[in-house]
Structure formats: C-alpha cells, structure tokens
Amino acid sequence: MPAVLRSRLAPIGLLVVIIAAMTPLIAGSAFWLDNSVLVAIFSLLALSVGMAYGQAGILSMAPAAFGAIGAFATSIVTTRYGLSPLVGLALALLLPAVVAYPMARAITRLSPLPLSIATLLLSLVLELAIREGKGLTGGYIGISGIPPLWFADSVFAMHVLSWGLVVVVLFLYANLTDSAVGRAVKTARHDPLRATADGVNVPALLASYFAISASVSGLAGWLYAHHLTYMGPDSLTMHVSIKVVLMAVIGGASTLLGPVLGAAFLTLLTLYLPAAETQGMIFGGVLIFVLLVAPNGVLGTDWGKLIARRSDKQPMAVRPAATEGTA
C-alpha cells in the first residue's frame, strides 16, 4: 500500500472525493440537497458519538440533547436578540461542553457505565426543561423564523457548508486521535490504571474528551437550527439520540468514516421506510443484528478475520482474564 493511502488523512480524502463526485448529480434537486445536508448534520452527531464511545468508551445516549443545547442557543440569540449566527455558533460550541465537562467529572471515576446512564437522564431532563422554558425556548410551540445563514442562504450552499464542516471536524478528530492525548484516551478506555501509570489524569482527560465530543454535537445542532429555521421540543429528542447512536455503531464507532457511513445509510433507509411508528422496530432490529454479527460496526470489523474465526470455534471459558491480575 502506498504511504498516502495509509496516512490518517486518507479516509478524509476519500470522503472529499465522494462528496465532490456526488455534488453535481444532486445539485439540481432540492430534495436530495436537503437530505444531503441532513446526512451531514447526522454525520456530525454520529461523529460525536464516535469520539465519546468509539475512542473514550463513554456511550453517550444524549448526542441529540447536546445538539439541542446548541440549536436552542443559536435560535434564541438570533431570534430574540437579533445577534449574528456566528455568536450562536460560538455558544453552540461552548455550551454543550460546559454542560458535559462537569457532568463527566462528577460521574466517570473509573467506570463509564454510570455516565451512559447519566446521559440518558440528561436527555430526559433537557426535554422537560425545553417544554417548561416557555419564555426562552418557546415551550411546546418552539422557535420558528430562525434566520438562515447569510453566507449560506441556499440549500446548495448549506450542502457545501455542512459537508465542509464534516471534513473539518474529521480532520481535527483524526489529528487528535493520532496524538499523545488521543493515545492516552484509548489507553484510559481499555485500562484506566494503566493510563494512570502513564501519567494521565484519567477523569479529567475523559471528561475533556467527552466535552469536545459534546461540542461537535452542538455544532450539528447549530447547523440543524439554521437549516430548518425551526426548533421545537420534538426536534432533537432522545429518539434522535438513539438513531444517532445506532448510526455510529452500525458504521463503526471507533473508525473515522464509520459514523458518516452509518448516518448516510440510516437517513436513506428512513426515506424509504413506510411509517414512522415502525422505525424503532427496524432500527432496534438492525442494531441487535449488527451487535451480534459485527460489534465493531461495518468499517471497524476485520471481515477476513471474522469469517476465518467462524470456522475455528474455541471452547468457552468463564471470564478468566477479567478477574486475573486485579485480585
């Protein structure tokens, strides 16, 4: 393999090529451009799950909640105070991180499982808060008339902007993964004590990483608000979170492009699904299927090895390694 293809940036190059090739094909259709923007937004949300879950091992069940924080932040400052969407952007990046960091600090000491549950709590509380914050969030009615971005006021421009942001996020993410911090996060995920011995302040590092991933969700929320120009209590709910987690897991949460692939796949699937009520059944079924067949997702699985292993089954032992060494 040539060095270029093995570089950490190769997947990003691939994505750029695919988007560039696709753009002229869909440029004429508002329907497809609109869906393309949605795929990009969901890609960002799924990337946020990929960072938290795939890298740091924290299963966040609240990507949409963090997205909603970003979306409402920008909606409120642009509609109620007439500020620039760029102010909204700053808030959309900052506020989710400000919520996520202390939450993670309070809860992840050594096990990420409680934090996953806490994200579920956050989702529920936030939905309640949005409904109750009538003066600020518009309550059940929501906020409409959010101004489109002046520098991207057509669907085509939104398409370019949102995919551009995906590429930028991917670039930053790839760099971060391949740095001392990224390696420390991976170690901390696998073995917090090992990471501690490497000199890592594990809770602080995981919390920062979780906060960064929340910012990425906030960015997605910002795009979402300005793309749809409406934000309500039913826009970015826990069900969206579930879908997003599913996207990341199906595509391969620990890989760069997995979440993007998952977002594209599920968004397209949703377009062709019959009724909204049955979506959960199909999504849930797909999730279970993927977990059973390839728990690391489509792009995270070494398919050659998997097929080889199927033919060489080993006897089951009873969790020996898990207890070994800590006793």
């Binding site: 809860i107 549950i117 409904r131 109750e132 917090p192 579930i242 059944m281 849930g284 089951m316 006793a327």
Partner: protein, 284 residues
Amino acid sequence: MYELVEYLLRGALLGITYGLLAFPVSLLFSTTGSVDVALGAYAVLAVAVAYSIGGPVGILAAILATVFASFVVGIISLRLNRPGAVDHVTAVLGTFGLAMFLESLILSVFGTNPMIRQPFDTFWNIGGIRISPQTGINAAVCLVILTALFVVLRKTPFGRSMRASAANPVGASLNGIPVRQIWFATYLLGGLLAGVAGVLILYTTGADYSSAFTLTIWGFGSAIIFGMNSPLRGFAGGLIIGMVQALCSGYLPGAWATAIPLVVIFVVLSMGRMNQIVSTGGRV
C-alpha cells in the same frame, strides 16, 4: 397535614412498582455487571398486553410476553459477553436496541393512547385519608414477591448458585455451577418481575408507549439509591423515589415533578454508587 400523608401514600403506591423494577436491576448488575435498559420496555409491554386482553388471562399473557422479551435479551447478552471480550457497554447497547424495538412495536400496535385500568372507584377512608384499594393489592403483591424472592435466593440451591455466581463467577464455575446458564436465568427472572411490575402499573398509574425509558430510569434510580446489592434496598429506594415524585407533583409546578427525581438520581450517581470496585488488595 392530611395532604402530605396522602401524597406520601400515593408515592408509596407508585414506588412499590419502581421497587419491583429495581430488583432486576440490582440482581442483574451484581450477577453479570450489566444493566438491562429494556426493563422499562418490558413493563410497558406487560401494560399493553394486559390492557388489550384484560382479566387474569391478560395478566398471564403479559407476563409471558415479558419473559419472552427478556429471553431474547438474555441470548443477545450472552452472545456479546464472550470470555475475554466482556464489554458491558456493548451489552447495554444491545438491550437498548431491544428497548427501541419494543417501544416501536407497542406504538404501532397500540398507538399513542395512555393505557390504564382503574377497577376501583371507591376509596378506603382511614382516619380521613383516602386510599385506593389498589394500594392494598400492590402492597400485597409486592410482599408476596419479596418473600418468594427471599426464599428462592436464601433457601434454594438455585438461589445459592445465583448468589455464588454473582459473588465469584470463576469460583462458581470451579464448583460446578453453570454460570452462564445462571446469568441467563437472571435475565428471565428480570423479565418476569418487570412483567409483574407492568401489570401493577396498568392498574395504578397507567403508561403509554413512551414510558419505557422513564420506567427504566426509575427502576435504575431506585436500585442505586441505597446500593446495588440487595433487593430490599432497591425496594426501599423505589419507595423513596415514588414519594419524592408524589411530593413534587403535589407541591411543585408541572414538569418539576418529573425533573426533581431525575436530578436526585443524578446526584446519587455522582456519589459513585456504581464505582465501588477496582484496586482491591493493592495488587495491580
């Protein structure tokens, strides 16, 4: 004053069902180290089945349905928790998938209508406090179940094996206990209890398709308040959460009633109730 007592009693009535959900949470966590997010969905499934069929047959069908659902989750979790690859978060994700599936199934079959049956329109009046006879039924059912569980766990070989697998899985398998089968049975027992809880919920507060995750949270919260390792504590935790909820809805406006107990659970989580492990004995 009467009002307060009435709220507390109403909360206890609700809390009993949470306590029932708390038990499988703590049982599963201590036996397998995992959390079954689908527990709330089982309960709603039970609500839906019992509601649509009705009567004792409906109750039976409801419980069968939940046991079947937990059977599926048990199989998935055993597949995911392979030796050398025990990943609790992945297992949780699996139960998440099933929860989604059930929620959507209930939505498509039963719609968005709240499902509730309140067979009693009379109240017992005890010293000026009005209590629904359902309270008595809930309390009696819980007492029976708690006693049965106590007997099964403390007095039967199966319960002994279960506790042994929880305390020391490797040791248990060295003593000829089929630990994986026991884990599986734990999932089934969880489904059964969630089914019973669901039936009681149908006759108490009712539920709709969207209650699944909230119920899971209540069960989970009840289980962690006093520590994960005893059903009795989970039951007490359930009562506390139910009472906090009832008091909030009595004295606070609107959504606070739901939010405050959530915040309580959050605080309990941040006190590290689930993190009492790791460097035991100092050998690293």
